[in-house]
């Protein structure tokens, strides 16, 4: 999807890194098992994080699976779990709506491609949406709200980021014991769901803002909507040093909110990896975006495929 939510690899222990790879592979296998092998393309780092965040205190029994991309050796990944199923369902829902979003894009050929792909994963989407109705509704509603903001060239960074943040926050329903029947007032939620929702809201906000900052130059060149263009009145697709500092401060608030919410969660087998991602990975991604090395540093191949 975006790929900003990833560990700072050099700071991981080897066993943590292997465990992280295992969850990534596990998500890929879960997607294939639940929605067919074609849906493997939707696997991404952001929802690998989600699968670990939603995981319960006990890790499922590990199992060895063969990877179709590297058939010569098997990878060890966690067995099926409710958290992994939920992360796979959310991945499919978001992948579908991102493709639909791309289909509404003005340019003919990219739009056609997105339309065809969206049609191709339509059946998988319907299955996923029936499993996670509240999340599917929130995604559809929020992306429609974002499209409206784009049309009116909304200058409020928060309003634009809110749409994506709400989508991720909706995934917090799975942090409790199974999905709740109706998403209503959030005050009565168990503490864990509240903390995960707050964490995911601000994570969504950070991802949206980082993506906007990363795309600012290309959006300006293509005259496409980007909230930063209107929020900071940029002319040439660059932020002035003061504006960049302001943007970093607002990101820092969200980052601190993520940390504060994370600290209220009980430990799981993935806590050390989540800590790495939250404390080190996110700031590193932000640093790479602001220094302009994010795009240049993106490795082709596997990671490129993982982008929706």
């Amino acid at each position: 999807m975006y790929g900003y939510v990833r560990p700072e690899r050099g700071e991981l222990r080897v066993r943590e890194y292997e465990r992280f790879r295992g969850v990534y592979c596990g998500l890929c296998h879960t997607l294939a098992a639940r929605y067919g092998p074609a849906l493997r393309f939707a696997v991404n780092y952001d929802f690998t994080f989600l699968a670990m965040l939603l995981a319960g205190p006990d890790e499922p029994e590990p199992c060895a699976r063969r990877c179709p991309y590297r058939p010569t050796r098997k990878t060890v990944c966690p067995g099926p779990s409710p958290a992994m199923d939920a992360a796979a369902d959310y991945t499919v829902v978001l992948a579908y709506w991102k493709l639909r979003d791309g289909a509404a894009d003005g340019r003919f050929f990219p739009a056609l491609g997105s339309r065809l792909l969206a049609a191709a994963i339509g059946p998988a989407y319907r299955k996923a949406a029936s499993r996670r109705p509240a999340f599917a509704r929130e995604t559809e509603r929020s992306l429609a709200a974002l499209a409206a903001l784009e049309r009116e060239k909304c200058a409020s960074l928060d309003a634009a980021a809110d749409t994506f943040a709400r989508i991720l926050a909706a995934a917090a329903e799975s942090a409790g014991n199974g999905p709740r029947p109706e998403a209503g007032d959030s005050a009565g939620d168990p503490p864990r769901v509240r903390a995960v929702r707050e964490l995911l809201y601000h994570l969504g906000r950070v991802v949206y803002v980082l993506d906007a900052a990363d795309d600012l130059a290309s959006d300006t060149a293509a005259d496409a909507y980007n909230p930063l263009r209107y929020r900071f009145d940029t002319e040439d697709g660059r932020l002035s040093p003061e504006d960049e500092a302001g943007l970093r401060v607002t990101l820092s608030h969200s980052h601190n909110s993520i940390i504060s919410a994370f600290q209220l969660l009980d430990g799981t087998p993935y806590t050390a990896i989540l800590e790495n991602i939250i404390y080190l990975g996110l700031p590193a991604a932000a640093q790479a975006v602001f220094s302009g090395t994010w795009r240049a540093g993106r490795r082709p191949g596997r990671e490129e495929r993982s982008r929706l």
Binding site: D158, S257, S260, L280
Partner: protein, 233 residues
Amino acid sequence: MNDPYSVLGVSPSASDDEVKKAYRELARKYHPDNYHDNPLADLASEKMKEINEAYDSITKSREGGGYGGQSYGGGQSYGGGQSYGGAYGGGAYQSQSQSRQQGYTGPRGGGANATYAMIRNHINMNNLSQAEAMLNTIPTHDAEWHYLMGSVYWRRGWMDEAARCFRTAATMEPGNIEYRNAVQYMNRGGQAYRPSGMNTGSMTNADICTICQTIYCADCCCEMMGGDLIRCC
């Protein structure tokens, strides 16, 4: 009640110093200033209560069991009278805590009227849509209006809009400490506990200038409130 040792994450055979260290670390983690106007502040204070109780019960049982040599009074725990202030950079955070304790109810800023008091109440109770609806019915937007609107945004997680509102309020009424504190808090980018080894990552570019500035600001704030952070200036 849970086992006090597992609450503090130490083994029952841990030394007094280890228990104290673990307790201090957790107290730093769930310190109210890390949950400043945070929607999860109630959960953090629950945790704080839990670790305070665990620490008190351990120290009490150890005193009874002959560990009394280094007497840990009940007042040692956070919030029990002994100030943690110094360790957290002193005045600036303390004044923050004070303003939070007063909440949004106090008639401050000069222009306070009954509607604003009600809106502050709604914000305190987290009835944000109610507070926003009431704010939208007020035709004239004075400094307090912007401040309260900023508070609604802040609680919602709309930090950019909140910062702009607080800045407008502080510009309209430069003498108001509440507004100025809010702007300063926003400019700092908030705060949260980071375990050791994980504190290198930050979203901001804090250079030595910013740090000095912050300390100087904290000192000024402190002096305004009658205290002093840095004796020599």
